[in-house]
C-alpha cells in the first residue's frame, strides 16, 4: 500500500543522505522524496512516498525515528491529509494546438508561465494522479520536457507536525 510519510529533521549536512541511505540499505521502496528548510531554519521538512506492507511501513517509521538527526516522523496516510505535487511541463505549441493546449491548461487550472512561438511551459499543481491525467491529456501533442517535484503533504485541520 502507498504511504506518505512526513518528517522533521535537523537541517544539517548529510541528513538527507542518511535517509536515502537507510532506504537503499534496507531495501525499502522510495517513490518520491521532497525536502526543504522550514520557517525554522534549523529544521528541514521531508515528505516521502513509499509503498509496502503494514509490517514494512512500521519498520520504515521505526528506522527513520532511529536516525539521530530525525526529530519527528508521522505517517500522513494514517489520517486526513492534503498532498500536492508541482509539475513544470514544456510542450510543443504551434498552429491550432496553441489554443487547445491553453484551454486544457485552464481546465486543469494550470498556468502558462513561459511562451515562445513554438512552445508553452505550463505550471501545474495537484495530486500525482491529476498531474498524470494532464500528461495523458497532452499526449496528442509533443511533450518536450516534464519536471515533477514529488508529493508534499500536510495534515488536515488541527493535525500538525511541529517540534
Amino acid at each position: 500500500m502507498r504511504h506518505i510519510i512526513s518528517l522533521l529533521m535537523e537541517n544539517e549536512a548529510g541528513a538527507l543522505s542518511r535517509v536515502a541511505g537507510l532506504f537503499s540499505s534496507r531495501g525499502y521502496n522510495i517513490e518520491s522524496l521532497t525536502v526543504a528548510a522550514t520557517e525554522d531554519s534549523t529544521l528541514s521538512r521531508m515528505t516521502l512516498v513509499t509503498t509496502g506492507s503494514d509490517d514494512v511501513i512500521e519498520q520504515i517509521t521505526k528506522q527513520l525515528n532511529k536516525l539521530i538527526e530525525v526529530v519527528k516522523v508521522v505517517d500522513l496516510s494514517e489520517g486526513n491529509h492534503i498532498e500536492r505535487e508541482l509539475m513544470l511541463i514544456k510542450v510543443r505549441a504551434v498552429d491550432h494546438d496553441r489554443e487547445e493546449i491553453k484551454r486544457m491548461a485552464d481546465i486543469f487550472r494550470g498556468r502558462i508561465i513561459d511562451v515562445t512561438d513554438k512552445s508553452y511551459t505550463i505550471e501545474l499543481t495537484g495530486t500525482g494522479s491529476k498531474l498524470d491525467a494532464f500528461i495523458e491529456a497532452m499526449n496528442h501533442t509533443t511533450i518536450l520536457e516534464t519536471v515533477r517535484t514529488g508529493a508534499s503533504g500536510i495534515g488536515r485541520g488541527e493535525r500538525i507536525l511541529k517540534v
Binding site: 537541517n11 544539517e12 549536512a13 528548510a37 512500521e58 519498520q59 521505526k62 539521530i68 526529530v71
Partner: protein, 585 residues
C-alpha cells in the same frame, strides 16, 4: 539544506572554563578524551592525525596502544568496551586508516558496542579534490555506525566529541565516528567542554509502558510452558543480576543467545544452554514448544530462531523487552512489546510480580520441567571422550577446568567459536567476547588485547582456529610491546572448519578452498614474536599443557592444538529450517 552553523540544543550547564589561552583542535581532542575519563586508546598514526599524536605525546593521562593494523585498533577498543562497560576509543588516520578500520566498526555496530572512533581527514580545503589519502569517511562508514560527524569548524569540535560519547553509550549503544580534518586539528579556539548535552532529536531514555508491563505480568502468571530467552541487551545494559532474580523468582527455564551468554549463570539448573543454530536440543525444543516466551534484549535473528515461518506457533504468546523499538516485530510479531531500558523494565516486572503474590500454575511448571529434562537426556553436546585424536570440545572443557571458569574468553569465528560457547560455562556477564552479528574472523586476538588492557591481572584466553588467527596474526607484535600475557588456544584442524562442515552437509563433500595449506609453524612463529609457543598433539597432554601455560604469568603463550579434522558442531539447525529441525550427533 546545509546550515553549517547549526548546533543541536546544547545546554552548556556548568561548563568548565579552562585556561584562557586558545587551544588547537588537537589539544582540544586530547583534553576531551581526558575529560571523558578515557585511559586507553588504540590507534595507528598517519599524516592526517600527526597533530593529534603530537598532543598525545605531550601528556600521560591517556595511554595510546599502538596496534599493527587499524582493524585491530577497533577490535581492541571493542574488546575493551565489551569487557568493561566503558566506551572504547580508537584513533586512525585518513584514507586507508579508515578503510582498514571499517571491518572493526561494522563488527561493533552489529553487536551494539559503544565506541568512539576518531579519524583524521585531509584538510577542509582539499576535501573533494581526490587528495592523497582521502576517502569519504562519513559516507563509507554511514551504514555501519550509530552516527558520525565531520567536524569542519574547530569551534564545534568539543561539543561534537561530547555528543559522540553521549550517543555511543546511551540507548542502544553503538560506534560513533568523528572525522577531523587536519587543518581543524591545527586551528585554535577557546576550550569549553560541556558537562551535559541534550539533543531534541535523540531521547534515548525510555521507560517501559506501565500498561504493557501489567499485561506481561498477567501473561507470565497464566503461563504453563514458559521460557525466558535473553540476548546481548542484558549484557550491554548490565541487567544480568536482575535477570537472575526474575528467573529464580519464577522458576522458569532460561536460555541465552550467543551474544547473551553470561546473562544468566550457565552452571545453574534453570539454564538450558544456548539456543539457535548450534543451540542445545533442550533450549531449541523449549523455544519451539513454550506457550509464553519472554524475550529480553534479543532480536530473534536468523541464527537464533531460524526461519520465522517455521518458528511461528499460534499457541505461543510473546513478550518482548528491548530498548530499540525497531528490534520489536522486525522478524517475529510479538503480543506484548515493551520498549524500555532492560534493567528498569525487569525491576518493574519483579516489583509487580511480588505485589501480586500469585504464582504461575506450579504443577504445570513441574510437568514442563519434566519435559525439558527428558529433552536434556538426549545429551546433545556429547562427543567421543576416548578419542586418540584431540577433540576440540575437550580442549575447551579442560580450559574451563584449568581456569576455574573464571577467565575472559574471546573467540574468532567458526567451529571453535561455537564449541567455546557450548563448552565454556559463563556464570558472569562480559566474560564472553565474540563477534556475533557480523561474524568477523580476525576479531579474537585484537579484542583479547583490549580485554587484557581493561582487566589487568585477569586470565584472558583467545579461542581461535588456524584460519581466523592468521587474519590478525600481526598483533602478536603489539602483545609483545605491551607485555600482554594472553593465552591463545589455537584449535588447529587444518581446515576452515565451519566452511568444511557446511560443504560436508550441503555441498556433497566438495571441500572447495577450505583446506588450510602451507600453514606456518605456529610455535616458531610465536617464538619469533618473542612469545612462548607450544604444540600439543596428544589428548593426554592437553591438561598439563594448559596448566603450564597459565603458570607462565606475564608471558603470552600460543598453544597450537592439533585437533580432529572431521569433528562437526552439533546440534545444527540448517539454514532456512525451524528450531526443532536439528541435525543431532
Amino acid at each position: 539544506m546545509f546550515n553549517p552553523t547549526y548546533i543541536a540544543d546544547i545546554q552548556h550547564l556548568e561548563t568548565q572554563e579552562s585556561m584562557s589561552a586558545d587551544l588547537t583542535g588537537a589539544e582540544i581532542t586530547v583534553r576531551c578524551l581526558q575529560e571523558e575519563g578515557v585511559e586507553h586508546i588504540f590507534g595507528y598514526p598517519g599524516g592526517a592525525v600527526l597533530f593529534l599524536y603530537d598532543e598525545l605525546f605531550k601528556q600521560d593521562k591517556v595511554r595510546h596502544i599502538l596496534v599493527r593494523h587499524e582493524q585491530a585498533a577497533v577490535h581492541a577498543a571493542d574488546g575493551y568496551a565489551r569487557s568493561s562497560n566503558k566506551v572504547g576509543v580508537a584513533l586512525v588516520t585518513s584514507g586507508p586508516g579508515v578503510t582498514n578500520a571499517v571491518t572493526g566498526i561494522a563488527t561493533a555496530y552489529m553487536d551494539s558496542i559503544p565506541l568512539v572512533i576518531i579519524s583524521g581527514q585531509v584538510p577542509t580545503h582539499a576535501i573533494g579534490l581526490d587528495a592523497f589519502q582521502e576517502v569519504d569517511t562519513v559516507g563509507i562508514t554511514r551504514p555501519c555506525v550509530k552516527h558520525n560527524f565531520l567536524v569542519k569548524d574547530v569551534a564545534e569540535l568539543a561539543v561534537t566529541i561530547k555528543k559522540a560519547f553521549y550517543i555511543a553509550s546511551t540507548g542502544r549503544p553503538g560506534p560513533v565516528l568523528v572525522d577531523i580534518p587536519k587543518d581543524v586539528s591545527q586551528q585554535k579556539t577557546k576550550f569549553v567542554y560541556p558537562e551535559r548535552v541534550t539533543m531534541r532529536s535523540y531521547n534515548p531514555n525510555i521507560r517501559g509502558h506501565a500498561g504493557q508491563i501489567k499485561k506481561a505480568v498477567q501473561l507470565i502468571l497464566e503461563a504453563r510452558r514458559p521460557m525466558i530467552y535473553t540476548g546481548g541487551g542484558v549484557i550491554l545494559s548490565d541487567a544480568a543480576s536482575r535477570l537472575t532474580e526474575l528467573v529464580r523468582l519464577l522458576r522458569f527455564p532460561c536460555t541465552n543467545t550467543l551474544m547473551g551468554l553470561g546473562g544468566y549463570p550457565a552452571t545453574d539448573r534453570q539454564f538450558v544452554g544456548m539456543l539457535g543454530m548450534h543451540g542445545t536440543y533442550e533450549a531449541n525444543m523449549a523455544m519451539q514448544h513454550c506457550d509464553v516466551l519472554v524475550a529480553v534484549g534479543a532480536r530473534f535473528d536468523d541464527r537464533v530462531i531460524g526461519n520465522p515461518k517455521h518458528f511461528y506457533n499460534p499457541d505461543r504468546k510473546i513478550i518482548h523487552i528491548d530498548i530499540d523499538p525497531s528490534s520489536i516485530s522486525k522478524r517475529v510479531k510479538v503480543d506484548v512489546p515493551i520498549v524500555g531500558n532492560v534493567p528498569d523494565v525487569l525491576d518493574e516486572l519483579i516489583k509487580l510480580l511480588e505485589l501480586r503474590k500469585e504464582k504461575p500454575d506450579q504443577s504445570a511448571l513441574d510437568a514442563w520441567w519434566a519435559q525439558i529434562d527428558s529433552w536434556r537426556e538426549r545429551d546433545c553436546l556429547r562427543y567421543d571422550r576416548t578419542s586418540a585424536i584431540i577433540k576440540p570440545q575437550m580442549v575447551v572443557e579442560t580450559l574451563y577446568k584449568v581456569t576455574n571458569g573464571d577467565a575472559f574468553i574471546t573467540s574468532d569465528v567458526g567451529q571453535h567459536q561455537m564449541w567455546a560457547a557450548q563448552f565454556y560455562k559463563f556464570d558472569l556477564p562480559r566474560r564472553w567476547i565474540n563477534s556475533g552479528g557480523l561474524g568477523t574472523m580476525g576479531f579474537g586476538l585484537p579484542s583479547a588485547m583490549g580485554v587484557q588492557m581493561a582487566n589487568p591481572g585477569a586470565h584472558v584466553a583467545c579461542i581461535t582456529g588456524e584460519a581466523s588467527i592468521q587474519m590478525c596474526i600481526q598483533e602478536l607484535s603489539t602483545c609483545k610491546q605491551y607485555h600482554l600475557p594472553l593465552k591463545i588456544i589455537n584449535l588447529n584442524n587444518r581446515y576452515m572448519g565451519m566452511v568444511r562442515q557446511w560443504q560436508e552437509f550441503f555441498h556433497g563433500n566438495r571441500y572447495a578452498e577450505s583446506y588450510m595449506d602451507a600453514l606456518p609453524d605456529f610455535v616458531k612463529l610465536a617464538e619469533s614474536y618473542g612469545h612462548v609457543g607450544m604444540r600439543i598433539e596428544q589428548p593426554g597432554d592437553v591438561e598439563a599443557a594448559l596448566q603450564e601455560a597459565f603458570k607462565l604469568k606475564g608471558r603470552l603463550v600460543f598453544m597450537d592444538f592439533v585437533t580432529d579434522q572431521t569433528e562437526n558442531v552439533f546440534p545444527m539447525v540448517p539454514g532456512g529450517k525451524g528450531l526443532s529441525e536439528m541435525i543431532l550427533v
